[in-house]
């Protein structure tokens, strides 16, 4: 059969954001794919250099709509690390609470999108209706549904009252029931199994090689979660399981996300019931001491890394964001090959892509005037130094 090349995007009903996939088709099967990035480059890292630290909070929040709290928290942890600010426990707890609510809202959104991409509109409508509950919680706590703006340098902006706690717990209880229903539905409905089982396979060794993160990696049986590996916020005090699945396909990603929802509900209950007393923020000076900081954070989509360099003024000298989609896109072209055209939207959606988080300029070495690429050894050295700085020695590994 003759090969035809089909453009999938930048404008396509299955993609919510502009990104281009060129698919080479043999009949209905895909024999090759190329991913073209760069339709949505917004110059945010550069923009961050001309704004003060506090203004950047609201800019960084807009890197991504769905994981707005993830990005600000990572950024702010860097700033606080450089400013050596002691963030009150209550502020950390509220950040954890919002982070988990955000994960719930992101995973429910993903469940709906997956339903839509596999042509199961009823699932889409139901999950998005139920997602309103968690969005209402977020609006109740922070004031907005999507851009919560709850973080501020040195703490959080808004406290949690007793009535709000009760309201959030009530809604989370409702959501727990619904999630159990969706888990049953996903496990028992034959058409869901037909569309997701053995689709977009990503064996563990390929996932490692291509640096998959988050639920995509965990569905390939790789136990990788920043919340466990290097706990931040209050995660070392919380009791939760790291969810993995070993089917390596879209079905596994569905199961991982659904079970993570259950873990998130557990954590929300724990945080709300043991909210430490005290102030919610400390004062941090406008000017941040010079230095460099790197932090990572388990966003709903996977590991989010921020690098911040300060030169002692009130504006950062350099900010670098590595969003989880950037790490997962490498695996997408592997997952697409050999699959069916009908599975393309689902496979792409299965990494929960956020293209506008991902698009950014390449590393450019000004002195040498060429693209700089870190080798494995250099990356390893940097990693070991980073952990030494935090009191963990990995140099023997």
């Amino acid at each position: 059969m003759a090969k035809i090349t089909i453009p999938f995007g930048p404008q396509h009903p299955a993609l919510k954001e502009p990104e281009n996939f060129m698919l080479v088709l043999e009949g209905e099967q895909i024999s090759g794919s190329t991913i073209n990035l760069g339709y949505n480059h917004r110059g945010m890292e550069k923009a961050a250099e001309s704004r003060t630290y506090i203004q950047n909070l609201y800019l960084i929040e807009r890197v991504c709509g769905i994981c707005s709290h993830s990005h600000t928290t990572t950024y702010i942890t860097n700033v606080e690390e450089l400013a050596k600010a002691e963030v009150p426990q209550r502020a950390l707890a509220i950040r954890t609470l919002i982070a988990e609510l955000e994960r719930v809202h992101s995973h429910l959104l993903w469940l709906g999108v997956a339903g839509y991409e596999m042509g199961f509109e009823t699932l889409f409508m139901y999950t998005w209706r139920d997602r309103e509950q968690v969005l209402d919680c977020l609006e109740l706590l922070s004031g907005n549904r999507v851009h919560y703006s709850i973080n501020t340098i040195g703490g959080v902006r808004r406290d949690v009252s007793a009535e709000q706690k009760a309201e959030v717990l009530k809604r989370i209880k409702f959501l727990e029931g619904r999630t159990q229903y969706y888990i049953k539905l996903a496990l028992e409905e034959p058409t869901i199994a037909a569309r997701t089982a053995d689709v977009g396979r990503l064996p563990p060794e390929v996932a490692l090689e291509r640096g998959a993160v988050g639920p995509t990696a965990r569905a390939s049986g790789i136990a990788r979660d920043v919340r466990k590996d290097e706990p931040y916020l209050l995660y070392d005090k919380l009791d939760f399981k790291l969810i993995t699945h070993n089917t390596n396909d879209v079905f596994g990603r569905l199961v991982v996300r659904a079970l993570e929802l259950v873990e998130s509900y557990k954590m929300i209950n724990q945080v709300i019931n043991n909210l430490p007393e005290g102030p919610i923020s400390v004062k941090v000076p406008m000017k941040i001491a010079p230095g460099e900081a790197v932090n990572h954070y388990e966003a709903p989509r996977g590991e989010d890394i921020h690098y911040l360099k300060s030169n002692g003024t009130d504006k950062p000298e350099r900010l670098k964001v590595r969003a989880p989609t950037m790490a997962n896109l490498q695996s997408v072209s592997y997952m697409l090959e050999g699959g069916w055209l009908a599975d393309v939207p689902l496979v792409i959606a299965a990494i929960d892509p956020c293209m506008s988080c991902t698009d950014r300029a390449a590393v450019w070495d000004q002195k040498k005037g060429k693209m700089a690429v870190y080798g494995w050894e250099e990356l390893r050295k940097l990693g070991i130094e980073h952990y030494k700085h935090r009191g963990i020695d990995f140099s023997k590994l």
Binding site: R51, T52, I54, Q55, N56, L57, Y58, L59, R62, T122, L123, Y126, R129, E132, E139, L140, L141, S142, G143, N144, H147, S149, T152, R157, R158, Y181, K184, L185, L187, E188, E189, P190, A193
Partner: protein, 133 residues
């Protein structure tokens, strides 16, 4: 365990339920107390320190001296002359504003007030710049 048409019961239950959606322009949307809407301005409180202008991430605020200034208070006997309190106007560019309400937190005199107004769309761009006196 495979059950074809697993969602059947749920679907039939919803046939007799009221829709979950809200007929928005006809029904008012519920807004929580903490919602960050349009920023209002209380001119008598403003001291013109420009802190809000500097902190605004979207460059949406301008604070300018009012065209009409209040007269200086009458000088009391034996007291040094009291300078007139200067009056300020605020130009709020709603098309720039990102509704983060950071200005409200920064303002030392509480001259900026967060409201719950959110129906701010307009057909003319000029109408999006509010002039608070």
């Amino acid at each position: 365990m495979i059950k074809p048409a697993r969602v059947f019961g749920e679907v039939m239950r919803h046939l007799f339920k009221k829709p979950a959606t809200c007929a928005y322009p006809f029904e008012k949307a519920k807004i929580t107390e903490r919602f960050r809407g349009r920023i209002d301005f209380d001119s008598p409180k403003c001291i013109g320190c420009q802190m809000c202008v500097r902190v605004c991430p979207a460059k949406a605020i301008e604070i300018k001296l009012s065209a009409e200034q209040p007269p200086a208070p009458v000088q009391a006997e034996g007291q040094p002359p009291v300078p007139a309190k200067r009056k300020f106007d605020c130009f709020m560019h709603l098309d720039h504003c990102v509704y983060c309400a950071q200005c409200v937190e920064t303002c030392p005199k509480d001259a900026l007030i967060m409201t719950q107004d959110f129906e701010l769309a307009h057909t003319s761009r000029a109408a999006l710049t509010r002039h608070y006196k």
